[in-house]
Subunit: 352 residues, 2 copies
């Protein structure tokens, strides 16, 4: 299905809370025809977020967006805890009555909401709950036999750009004629790629098994390289279990560390981010106990710095770690890809 998205992000479009909106606009092959945000109505996306480079109009409400002929309403925000903001209901109702598909990555499963499910039936409107996971088996170890190389992005925190780094590195690999696929593990990645599982929504015991299923599916899609979208951060008090489920469940051969140099505390908590060496040591130490994998390079997200400051931050990271480092959005992914991926070798599980 070719989608034409109307994206719902009222009062949040310009902020990090709307990261689902930003990811889909930047990377989905589906067109975004308009964004709902009364604060910026009358402008276009580029006026508010120049880096997104889109002239989609911003409108005041869903009703005003219908003239742009959307097929689907995308909930564009990823709030902490993932509940449905009550003020979104009226807008979702308008979209459903107009026959639009509802695409949501919230933890609140729209299809389980009695009122909205009934409305969908009445108006023949589809619901695509991106985060609704399939039943997953326990981790089996089958991932250890995958022949394609597996690269996992890991972060200093949530919402630093792990999905973006994985998408950009996949693009660079394809430009180098490598048969590569992006492996989506969260709601925005799923919306962009059209497949995947939101690992954070899986029952904890089965989260590594669900992650393993994704790389097994990835192997059916690409022969040479799987670039897995990471989640959370290893000292994030709420999301680290999901980080670890991906670290063990996807059996990576190498890691790419993603960080925002200006960020100093864990998003939403008064806990300091770990430094480069602590982060690299912690991730590599955990991998060493199961299947060894090293951090092969660092992808910095310098969106909020000017170019000189960005270059300085990249140089600092190189100096401190001795690893290749770049901003794969600002300067493109090819240099970082060329520095790390071809050198990545398959690694074996730590056998008894």
């Amino acid at each position: 299905m070719e989608r034409r998205y109307l994206i719902l992000a009222p009062h949040t479009f310009a902020t990090r809370a709307a990261k689902t909106a930003h990811g889909v606009i930047a990377y989905s092959r589906d067109v975004t025809v308009a964004v709902v945000d009364p604060e910026n109505a009358g402008k276009c996306v580029r006026d508010v977020l120049p880096y997104l480079d889109s002239d989609a109009p911003i409108v005041a409400d869903v009703a005003a967006g219908l003239v742009h002929k959307p097929t689907s309403l995308l909930i564009g925000i990823a709030p902490q805890g993932g509940g449905l903001p009550p003020e979104f209901r009226a807008e979702i109702r308008v979209a459903m009555r107009a026959g639009l598909e509802i695409v949501s990555g919230l933890h609140t499963i729209i299809g389980d909401d009695p009122e909205l499910a009934e409305l969908a039936r009445t108006h023949d409107s589809r619901i695509w709950d991106l985060r609704l996971p399939p039943a997953a088996p326990l981790f089996s170890g089958a991932a250890y036999d995958i022949e394609a190389r597996i690269l996992l992005t890991v972060g200093s925190d949530c919402a630093v750009g792990k999905m973006t780094a994985a998408l950009e590195l996949t693009r660079a690999a394809r430009d180098r004629a490598v048969d590569a696929t992006f492996v989506p593990t969260g709601q925005t990645g799923i919306a962009i790629a059209g497949w995947g599982t939101a690992i954070d929504r899986v029952i904890a015991d089965f989260a590594p098994g669900a992650a393993e299923q994704l790389v097994l599916e990835g192997e059916r899609r690409a022969r040479d390289l799987l670039v897995v979208e990471g989640q959370g951060g290893i000292n994030h008090p709420a999301y680290a279990p999901v980080t670890l489920a991906l670290l063990y469940g996807t059996a990576p051969d190498a890691l790419v560390l993603v960080h925002v140099p200006s960020r100093t505390t864990i998003d939403g908590y008064d806990i300091p981010l770990l430094g480069y060496r602590e982060l690299i040591g912690t991730y590599e130490n955990l991998c060493a106990g199961v299947k060894p994998a090293k951090v092969a390079g660092i992808a910095l997200n310098t969106k909020d710095l000017d170019e000189a400051a960005a270059r300085a931050a990249i140089e600092d990271a190189r100096q401190e770690t001795g690893l290749p480092c770049d901003d794969v959005v600002r300067f493109g992914p090819h240099a970082l890809y060329d520095a790390i991926a071809p050198q990545t070798q398959k690694s074996a599980v730590r056998h008894a």
Copy 2:
């Protein structure tokens, strides 16, 4: 409710697979009136597992167990993946038709099974699904303000005795007139204590939040000391995310490491256990990034060793780590408790 348990563990009662049965017989205040295991029918529990010190009879099937007037049928096994073995259905039907309550810690929720739920309604039989979790919020940080000291058992693997160590240390604390409570985090602990949440059953994003709710509830039950039952092991490829959810979510002030000296590989996987120093380093390093906690002592489970070998293993662990070490079942929990708990101080979250 005073329960009289008939425990279902056919062909597994003598093995580690029946750890739920063993835990309830050893630690529940509810009486076990009989165990179902055709392989050992005619014997009593003590004949098969002397350390359990119970003269409950072993019977061939549920029908034969009814003469002992049980109130409840407990599913006594904890299989990998937690599914309902198909051959258990007929026995559960017999129990339900006799009006028994069904107590199950499987991942398969008995109350969600159409046939068994219908049978329960027809025969006025209750179902207690130990693993069915309450809705949990995101981790909030409220656990950082708990005034009681928090001790968490962590392991080298799953099924090494973390629950038992936590129960024994709680008993020792109470013997020392400390207002202490055991905090149950898994199905057997819940059956024993009558409250708690199976963290492994919670949606991954909310697992630390569910763990936090448990220590907040623990603080309402005991003023001085919360002894939290750990889960899994930090290099267990399937269960480590649950381990980490407890490590961050319960905000411990100190850890007690639990290990079976004769165990060399992760249960069900060909991955070597980490050594004492690697384990201690990995757990302490993870805590250091959020809220520092040290391993204060080691509880060895030497059930499968003779006494001389047990004493040697304990001495080896003391030598290698410099920490207090004991087998809290074989030699009682008081010596280890006295060596670690009174020295445990509250620690603070790593603030920015």
